[in-house]
Symmetry: D2
Subunit: 186 residues, 4 copies
Amino acid sequence: MNFDFKKEFKGIISIIGASEIDKETEEKAFELGRLLAKNKYIVSCGGLTGVMEAVCKGAKEEKGLTIGIIPYREKSAANKYVDIAIPVPFSQARNIVVVLSGDVIVAIGGKAGTLSELCFSWIYGKPIIALSNVEGWSSQLAGKKIDDRRDDMIYPASTPKDVMIKLNDILQDKNNELSNKSNTPI
Amino acid sequence: MNFDFKKEFKGIISIIGASEIDKETEEKAFELGRLLAKNKYIVSCGGLTGVMEAVCKGAKEEKGLTIGIIPYREKSAANKYVDIAIPVPFSQARNIVVVLSGDVIVAIGGKAGTLSELCFSWIYGKPIIALSNVEGWSSQLAGKKIDDRRDDMIYPASTPKDVMIKLNDILQDKNNELSNKSNTPI
Amino acid sequence: MNFDFKKEFKGIISIIGASEIDKETEEKAFELGRLLAKNKYIVSCGGLTGVMEAVCKGAKEEKGLTIGIIPYREKSAANKYVDIAIPVPFSQARNIVVVLSGDVIVAIGGKAGTLSELCFSWIYGKPIIALSNVEGWSSQLAGKKIDDRRDDMIYPASTPKDVMIKLNDILQDKNNELSNKSNTPI
Amino acid sequence: MNFDFKKEFKGIISIIGASEIDKETEEKAFELGRLLAKNKYIVSCGGLTGVMEAVCKGAKEEKGLTIGIIPYREKSAANKYVDIAIPVPFSQARNIVVVLSGDVIVAIGGKAGTLSELCFSWIYGKPIIALSNVEGWSSQLAGKKIDDRRDDMIYPASTPKDVMIKLNDILQDKNNELSNKSNTPI
């Protein structure tokens, strides 16, 4: 590699969403993947179909780096836009690793599996952004709290571009907080 | 043991709910534990405090059998009303085992952890009953679906007694279905 | 239940061994299950075939209580001598729960899966007894240490009866240690 | 990124070994990390100290890419030579993910944790190379089988250079096998 990995990338963003999606959700996930890669973020996800495939495809369009945390033993189960497949053959427990691999979580629609990932993101203290105008749990929880343990909320965003703005805000706040506290880089 | 274990008990019911609860929720959890044990159900839960402790305490009041699926290595982390402690030191992934240990799931209130358990119950096809008049996710989802993958819903129940009625209905339906299909006992 | 569960049983013993075994190993596993149940121990195991099935069958012969920690979602995957099936659908990670469910571990033969369980038993500080005259890893490691982190060893036992003697020694030592330290019962 | 990720790297090699090591083992792990990176392999490991830190340090010396599968929630627990930290807070079950993240496994010394990883590598069908002249389980099992399920063995290698030769042999065989069978690239 002719570059410094840690300087090249600004962080890892985990994208969560359903494995079966409509055309509109697919386009938004693709566009978000594209924007994340263009802005030097690594994309992490569950590595399978639907939102996971669309966001990886978008990221690769901009020569980004993609990680797929798959719930099977064989790396070949990952979609073809995944660069690094990490097998976690622990059924739904793989959702926890998807969440923890990210510095920030972005939800696009989603069913019960995505809702479980929103819960883990909330419990583990990860900043969360939820696309607010697609069908599924990201819309239902955008702008809300899951319970009273945190002062912040699941931040709403209406477009992939909005997600990027919110993401920069979050990471800037996080950096400021850290440099005020301890000079530790993220 | 001077009895036939499989004849003695009618099934295992997993109770999910928060680790910090108010007096009213505690009383309902205790009463449910008592009724479950009296009616020959084994109680399974996360084995710690709050709803988990109250339901185990109720079950032991009636000399029932209690299982605690705890997220720590040491069995001693379980509350004192747990008969059989099963350590699953996998952080939030232990929630999956709590759900799968039960034949039916009953939710009493609950925060993000309980909501993740409701998601897993839904994904793994477990019948779910939710107490509808306590604070938390069980009230918010009682009578609803988490997504469109199932024809049934999260059944609402307003009291521990109601839970027992609903529980008997569910297990009767399940038995009928099975005996129609294959004569396989549950 | 017309008995006090915690008084009825002296502890949980996890039995580890291969899923495909010869007649001799099967007979020893069956005999060990019988002796454990007769002496008021609960049997825990991986819940499938081979050593797991034989030890459960033996325990049920004496009306003992059996726990099967199975690597599948469906409880019906457990062998028919399992009373309480706990699904841990996390591939080989279920081996960790098999080990942690026991107060003492007994190995009978075994291949790579059993060897991984011996490693976990060693790491988690569980007392281990290994049958020394059956084919497999229990014979190869009987009387040895896996590494230098512990002062004790994998205790060898040549027959199921020997296992019971060693087991009583271990639990007596453990009780004495505890009562000297803190009066806490196990 | 100004390169094609999948063309840039030849595969992911998981390195397993103890967290506390002597100077000689450290030097060998460092040298292996260096050689792997120089030869366009990604290094994966448990992300902590000892062999894990030395191999990552060596890889970064040659501007390689390193993955750390850590058993804690916080990415900051990884050693400073880890580029991509994947938290798997599932106690010893994280060892399974370390193994499955690699296309080939290389063991350097090791205690009970490493032995459990050798078992999983064997069970999941991963090619294994073991350094034969360092203290620990890699020496004890080099040139041997863990059980009879596989036709191959744990390949012995006496130096990091030897590991590289063996590694190339294994991956060439694997490629040939695949191109004969199905033209599917790895």
